[in-house]
Symmetry: C2
Subunit: 224 residues, 2 copies
DNA sequence: TAGATTGTTAATCGATTAACAATC
DNA sequence: TAGATTGTTAATCGATTAACAATC
């Protein structure tokens, strides 16, 4: 299926489409046009049709798109049917929040094990997922090849643990530490969740709004 | 300072610059050229100079950029010196992880209060931040204008609570729920942390890698 | 001074939007 | 059939890269 190189922007929009289609399904909507979908997502109909056309022809002239069919096509494009396996490294606050709240299976992933250094947690289970010692990491991965590692260790441990995972043959890291792992290095995929980057972007936009408001107020004041 | 409209892409890179500059500082590096900075971030020197030039002239010909000075300029651009206030809505797993782990003050924010519906938590404090009842939300905000709300409530509560916050005069929402709040609506800023979107992007890239590898293997097999 | 590196203008590249024939 | 809406090609727009004079 995937022959042409698809741009990053397109790929980042796919999960949003998926989410919106799930919402439409839940509301009993079974078909939708690129026009209506665009309205709901703040995108142009053109862009939506262009995006989908990277992967095939999922619509029908005069009709639009079948919500359920489109949803399942996008799920396949995203690899949700591949049953990727995941391990979680570091059962601290964020690690525990993920194990407890985040439904890996909903997105096609299997969380097969967690790893920790805290002896109090090692050997226990959390929501059916066993927590192993970091010492067992290599032996575990040798026996159970794993696709992605969820990295939720303290800042200082981030780089050494990431290097260790790379050496152990992990293919991708989902990085929750606030550390830049993406270097000019290896062929391990890194996807970052940088809370601070997100908050600082928001901070920028908020500052901008404030300045605009202040400028308007100043003009109004002068006029008065 | 900010007169021209700066593109989203530029703004999203600013926090990365900040993070890298902090790292350089910590390693005792006091000056850096756009060339070297580009190397370390995987960007072209041109792009870096273009990005900075949106906001002013922070470098010096023949020398490069002073790390500490550039860092503090970017901090100001991002609004880190404005002391924005924040409240946290929903002290569940993610909410608690944020209160415990995420250092709001490091990024110039003041976390002034949390709000919950669980009676067991109401009235307690967590890391010096009081946890109030959701019933007090309106009266609190009336007395203490707050800039941003961190939304970490269960999925079903996301939309109604967001609407309530909007009505209460909040200026921005940092959204940790997996719900699309960005509609064709109000003038409240929304910044999303969508875990699943991030994981699904990673899933796509991983699938792509797999397919490429499989294609290579198939070719090698045929040749053999 | 000579070498290095900026800030900025111009050129290129890529992504988004518009338009429209094809067709359900 | 007529109306609607797709998939796709062409046009536009914006972002990235290259080049270079200015200057520390």
């Amino acid at each position: 299926m995937k022959r042409v190189k698809v741009s990053n922007n397109v790929i980042r929009r796919l999960p949003r489409y998926l989410r919106k289609l799930d919402e439409l399904s839940a509301n009993g909507v079974s078909r939708i046009s690129s026009f209506d979908l665009g309205q709901q997502l703040g995108l142009t109909p053109s862009q939506i049709r262009q995006d989908f056309s990277c992967f095939g022809e999922f619509g029908q002239q005069g009709y639009g798109y079948n919500v359920a069919a489109l949803r399942s096509q996008i799920a396949v494009i995203l690899g949700m049917d591949r049953g990727f396996s995941a391990i979680l490294i570091g059962v601290g606050n964020i690690g525990r929040a993920l194990m407890d709240n985040f439904c890996f299976s909903e997105w096609g992933f299997r969380l097969v094990s967690a790893f920790e250094i805290d002896p109090a947690l090692i050997g226990t289970e959390f929501k059916g997922v066993p927590i192993r010692s970091m010492d067992e990491l290599e032996s575990y991965l040798a026996e159970n090849p794993v696709d992605i590692a969820v990295l939720s260790v303290p800042k200082d441990a981030a780089v050494p643990v990431a290097e260790r995972l790379t050496a152990d043959g992990i293919r991708a890291i989902w990085n929750f530490t606030n550390v830049e792992l993406t270097g000019p290095d290896s062929d391990v995929l890194v996807e970052n969740i940088h809370f601070s980057d997100s908050l600082l972007s928001l901070s920028y936009f908020l500052s901008e709004r404030r300045d605009e408001q202040a400028a308007r107020d100043a003009r109004a004041e002068k006029q008065h």
